[in-house]
Amino acid sequence: MNYFSQAIAWIADPANASGPNGVWARSWEHLWYTILAVVLASVIAIPLGYLVGHTGRGRGLVVASSGAARALPTLGVVTLVGLVLGVGLIAPMVALVLLAVPSVLAGAYAGIEAIDPRTVDAARAMGMSEWQILTRVEMPLGLPLLIGGLRSATLQVVATATLAAYVGAGGLGRFLFLGLKTQDYPQMLAAALLVVVLALILEGVFEISERVTARRLHTH
């Protein structure tokens, strides 16, 4: 565990903390990549998931294609888009969005699918329009599973966003690849620890929001 103390020392070293290439700047950058990727994935996946969940149509297609998307090697997508569109943020962002979409999609449609069909039937029988059923019944009741989907997407993205640095973008991956090139194990381990800390913080945020929604929705 000698590397461990060296890694902690590396993080604590004020020389590594500040500046555009410092720990703080790279951590923010990493967090920003993560949030951007999950938000972009949500913009695509949530409406699609709601459509599938509400109508019950196209479920097979969505399950099959998100299975295939899960099989996509992120490193491959990063390098491919990097080669086609050039280095920068676009390549890793495409890859991270592809990584996040299946989990968010599954959360969105599974949330609606898991609702007791009698509840939806009763809502329709009372005279709610399809839009009202979606917005007033299915969306609130499906929220816990959607948040679960966002949570696992975020966890995957935060760990994988390190690959962004492989094609010239920033984030905590910078320290990783720099360490890899110079055989600097403490620096690599430090980068890994920082990612884990970031993941822990995000997990905490999700844990709290899951509890709050569970309480507000009153579903146990």
Partner: protein, 272 residues
């Protein structure tokens, strides 16, 4: 008045749920559709508020063919109560009851005041208004379901085995409450059940259905018990199997009503 006129319902896979069904459910009375599961009774009920559209034939409410009314506004003026209440688990009791008035644009305060009146009508205590459905017993949830069905003051109330999921004592209680409410409000009720005792207890008109929603017999409770149309009806009522063939037996403490197996079914008392 609700009138079914030659309605049929068949599905693409060839099953015929309803074949040539014609019936009138009179205004202000309770019509009970009773039959075994799969006889098409729920399908018939759901044709009234267009949860199901008939393949052919028509359903009329007074002089209006329901097919000419868009389903969403139609449903908002027809009360619907289902088994397990179908309450929205994320809304408080008071909000569940006020759902339809709020959808119709009634101001919230007014809708809540109306909901509070209904809670009293169906026998719920005011302190239950701010509870969530999960926090109520099955019988209480069912009361909320009835209150919700009445909230928009509909002329018609459709009830799909509303008391099917509660235990027998609570069910008897709810049936008695429904009779009391119906005496007060005189709605046109169509009530679906597979329980003949419930049908006899609640119906002004009883319609006994065989497979494909064929009407085996329609009439008052007295008519169907006194003059069952055929063996199917007699068998469905339990006549000849002892449960409804009652006779009297004197005992030292009074007169008992006894069924065909010699089991006590009740006691004889002076009316009133």
């Amino acid at each position: 008045m609700i009138r079914f006129q030659d309605v049929c319902k068949s599905y693409p896979d060839g099953t015929e749920a309803v074949r040539d069904f014609t019936l009138e459910a009179p205004t202000g009375k309770t019509t009970v559709l009773v039959g075994s599961s799969g006889c098409g009774k729920t399908t018939l009920l759901r044709m009234v508020n267009r949860m199901v559209d008939p393949t052919s034939g028509a359903v009329w409410i007074d002089d209006e063919n329901v097919a000419d009314v868009p389903p969403v506004p139609l449903r908002r003026r027809i009360g619907y109560v289902m088994q397990n209440a179908g309450l929205l688990p994320h809304r408080k009791v008071i909000d569940n009851i006020a759902t339809v008035p709020l959808l119709n644009g009634v101001p919230k305060a007014q809708a809540h005041a109306r909901a509070a009146e209904l809670m009293e009508l169906v026998g719920l205590e005011a302190r239950q208004a701010n509870r969530y459905p999960d926090q109520l017993s099955g019988g209480q949830q069912q009361r909320v379901g009835v209150a919700r069905g009445l909230a928009a003051d509909p002329n018609i109330l459709l009830m799909d085995e509303p008391f099917g999921a509660v235990d027998p004592l609570v069910r008897a209680d709810l049936q008695a409450e429904l009779l009391r409410i119906q005496r007060e409000l005189e709605k046109t009720i169509v009530f679906v059940t597979h329980d003949i005792a419930e049908a006899l207890a609640l119906g002004d008109q009883i319609v006994i259905l065989a497979k494909g929603a064929r009407i085996a017999q329609a009439g008052t409770p007295q008519q169907v018990v006194a003059e069952p149309a055929d063996d199917f009806v007699a068998d469905f009522l339990g006549l000849g199997r002892g449960t409804l063939d009652l006779h009297l037996r004197e005992t030292p403490t009074g007169t008992l009503v006894v069924d065909g197996h010699g089991r006590p079914a009740g006691r004889l008392v002076e009316p009133g």
